[in-house]
């Protein structure tokens, strides 16, 4: 006996053809209900020389409950050297999950998420994200949180002494350009007082600028 699959609107699903006999599907984003999907990109100021190792430079903190935030991707959008050059050496940018984040970080600048800002469709709800913060010239204050023992994504690279060069272009720290690509679409699921933090280690003497982008959904359950 054969059956046909009929959608809620009454349309019957089709099989593609008789060679592979594959059911046709089309991908949709996660169902956000009355909440939404968002994306936000921030730019640092000119970062001063002498940043401490593993300095926090980008923070995303989720504070709502019982809603969840699904982090689909975090990328560094470029790391640019200036005329004030670095001492040559290794650099490292990584992304780490923060838990039990009871006191927000400090410093830098924070994204404005009120109203329609950053919605991927105007009819979505205003974002419930607690804070998205990027460094201006110095490391961010960490606030109170527990960082995982290892990062979830990282990029290590060499920095030379040439002025005004790009040390990184767009590089994924989590998501599309990294391990989950095409395989297992596993977002980082943030509950109340959890988040992600990007940390930077760069050689001495140089000043620099960087950008960061984060894409996320806000859902009632997952």
């Amino acid at each position: 006996m054969s059956i046909q699959i009929q959608g809620y609107g009454g349309v019957v699903a089709e099989v593609d053809g008789s060679v592979y006999r594959a059911l046709r599907v089309t991908l949709r984003p996660v169902d956000y209900g009355s909440l939404g999907q968002y994306r936000c990109s921030l730019l640092s100021g000119t970062m001063a020389a002498g940043l401490g190792a593993a300095s926090q430079v980008f923070q995303v903190r989720w504070t709502s409950t019982p809603q969840l935030a699904l982090i689909w991707g975090v990328s560094i959008d470029g790391l640019s050297g200036s005329a004030t050059t670095f001492t040559a050496g290794f650099a490292l940018f990584n992304l780490v999950v923060a838990r039990s984040w009871t006191a927000d970080g400090t410093g830098g600048s924070t994204a404005t998420l009120t109203g329609n800002n950053q919605k991927l469709r105007t009819s979505m709800g205003t974002s419930l994200m607690g804070t998205i913060r990027i460094a201006s010239t110095a490391a961010l204050g960490a606030g109170t949180s527990t960082l995982d023992g290892q990062s979830e994504g990282q990029i290590s690279f060499s920095i030379g002494t040439t002025a005004n060069v790009n040390y990184l272009l767009q590089t994924g720290l989590y998501g599309a350009s990294s391990l989950e690509d095409g395989g297992n679409p596993a977002p980082i699921v943030l509950a109340q007082n959890e988040g992600v933090v990007a940390r930077a280690t760069v050689p001495a003497t140089g000043t620099w600028q960087f950008g960061m982008t984060v894409a996320w959904s806000e859902v009632a359950s997952y």
Binding site: E14, G17, A22, L27, S41, L70, Q118, G175
Partner: protein, 223 residues
């Protein structure tokens, strides 16, 4: 009792094999009904961008004006950024993509794309309903009347040196397929009437430069 799943045309679906026993599926694009899917690449004309562009100058605008139809934006990419015969003062550059809402008056300047019987991904699709796709041709576009989000949704931050006739970036994504949602959460950016996207550039002084942009979208009656 096993049952066969039969498609609308009567073909029965198959299972791939005995190891994992997965059902076979094939991915199709968003169902566009009587509308369509489109892609366009535009440029400023070949190294025409004048020196001295103000910070955050608008260089590319996409405005959707139709209702009740929606435009679902799948990707926007900077295809290239290059210097030509007059070099830049070295410094930081920044190119961003920002959502525009309540866009009641179109921008002006630059060149607008001709979308009549152009850029469909299948000839049987109708001409695009997109209001305007506008690219700078030397100077900043005027903004029109709209409200930009407080932060961009995509960005490229890079250094520019003093060398002339230099390819400064290659093809880089500002939104979509090659970037954060790829393979995970295929979240199209959904534009309703009088909404759109704006690309803005901040570049160092003195340099003359060029750029090009690629843009892909679907037009649908509901999403």
């Amino acid at each position: 009792m096993a049952i066969l799943i039969q498609g609308y045309s009567g073909v029965a679906m198959d299972v791939d094999g005995f190891t994992y026993r997965p059902m076979r599926v094939t991915i199709r694009p968003l169902d566009y009904g009587s509308l369509g899917q489109y892609r366009i690449s535009t440029w400023e004309g070949g190294g025409t961008m004048a020196a001295g562009l103000a910070a955050n100058s608008e260089i590319y605008q996409v405005r959707w004006v139709s209702t009740p139809q929606l435009a679902v934006v799948w990707g926007v990419q900077l295809d290239t950024f290059f210097s030509v015969g007059t070099g830049f003062t070295a410094g930081f550059a920044n190119i961003t993509l920002t959502i525009a809402r309540s866009w009641t008056v179109d921008g002006s300047g630059g060149a607008t794309a001709n979308l009549t019987n152009n850029n469909m991904l299948r000839t049987s699709m109708p001409s695009s309903l997109m209001g305007a796709i506008r690219t700078s041709t030397g100077t900043a576009l005027t903004a029109g009347t709209k409200t930009l989000d407080a932060q961009p949704v995509g960005r490229l931050a890079f250094s520019v040196g003093t060398a002339t006739y230099t390819q400064i970036t290659g093809q880089l994504s500002l939104y979509g397929a090659s970037s954060l949602e790829d393979g995970g959460n295929p979240a199209g950016l959904v534009l309703a009437q009088n909404e759109g996207l704006v690309m803005r550039a901040t570049v160092p002084a003195t340099g003359v430069w060029g750029f090009s942009v690629g843009f892909a979208w679907s037009e649908v009656t509901a999403y």
